[in-house]
């Protein structure tokens, strides 16, 4: 493995981990549920995305063939992340609506 690929892999790993951490900082710091919902989208998209890309480059450089495993993980995460965000937002809206109705009683 030459120095350039090693640098690229290292940079992607640190970048991905930093964004995953920032997403979690957002989850812990932001004031209410709907703003917190923005943190994990960041952790999945750029955080895990960059790390998975680093892994794909690493295993491609180590072995003879191309390593595509990682792309499947990334594809899956990119498809499921919006769906779970949407469902959680719906559940939160539903619960907020129920709490408001209870207050009016």
């Amino acid at each position: 493995m030459n120095i350039l690929t090693e640098f690229a892999i290292s940079a992607l790993i640190v970048l991905g981990a930093a964004f995953a951490l920032l997403g979690s900082v957002g989850l812990a710091r932001l004031p209410d549920f709907f703003t917190r919902l923005h943190g994990p989208t960041k952790a999945t998209t750029l955080g895990v995305g960059a790390m998975v890309l680093a892994s794909a480059i690493y295993f491609t450089a180590m072995q003879t063939g191309v390593s595509l495993h990682e792309i499947a993980v990334m594809f899956f995460l990119f498809i499921t992340a919006p769906v779970s965000a949407h469902l959680m937002a719906k559940a939160a809206l539903h619960r907020r609506g129920m709490a408001d109705a209870k207050q009016e009683d």
Binding site: F19, P31, H38, T45, L93
Partner: protein, 162 residues
């Protein structure tokens, strides 16, 4: 041809995913992948709504590239907002009126909105065709609506011809 492959795009995705999963290009995996790509669209046909015709597949790659770049840029701007003073954020629910009238394309649009950090789509109202989104920091909601319509909805309408 049409009867053998009711959904060519779905078959291609299944085949490529199978190749990525097995991570080997032997004859066995290729044959099994081809078999799955032929069989799965038939088995799952009752679950699929009628997707609109892909009018301009080439534009799809341009849009995917644009979304990828936007994800990186939006990540940077959201990261700055998360570290900075939280009380100065202006989170808002925003209703984006849609021009497209197709559930499948609306799903793609809302997924793109959710994947780019800073905005999460919450609901698609299929009676009024309004996309309800939540923005982390939106001092100017009209500009955000305009951006979503220009950057993502207009290309999607062109690609799927709806």
């Amino acid at each position: 041809m049409h009867r053998l492959l009711p959904r060519p795009a779905l078959s291609a995705v299944i085949f490529l995913l199978w190749a990525a999963l097995s991570n080997a290009a032997t004859l066995g995996t290729v044959l099994l992948g081809a078999l799955l790509a032929l069989a799965l669209p038939f088995v799952t046909r009752p679950f699929w709504s009628d997707a609109p015709r892909l009018a301009r597949p080439g534009r799809l790659f341009i849009l995917a590239l644009r979304v990828a770049i936007d994800i990186v840029l939006a990540n940077l701007s959201v990261a700055r907002r998360v570290i900075g003073p939280v009380s100065r954020l202006q989170p808002a629910f925003i209703e984006v009126p849609l021009d497209l009238r197709d559930p499948f394309v609306a799903t793609i649009l809302s997924s793109i909105v959710s994947l780019t950090p800073g905005t999460v789509s919450i609901d698609v109202d299929q009676e009024r065709w309004v996309l309800l989104i939540h923005a982390l920091d939106a001092p100017d909601s009209d500009a955000l609506i305009e951006e979503i319509k220009q950057r993502y909805e207009a290309p999607l309408k062109e690609i799927f011809a709806c």
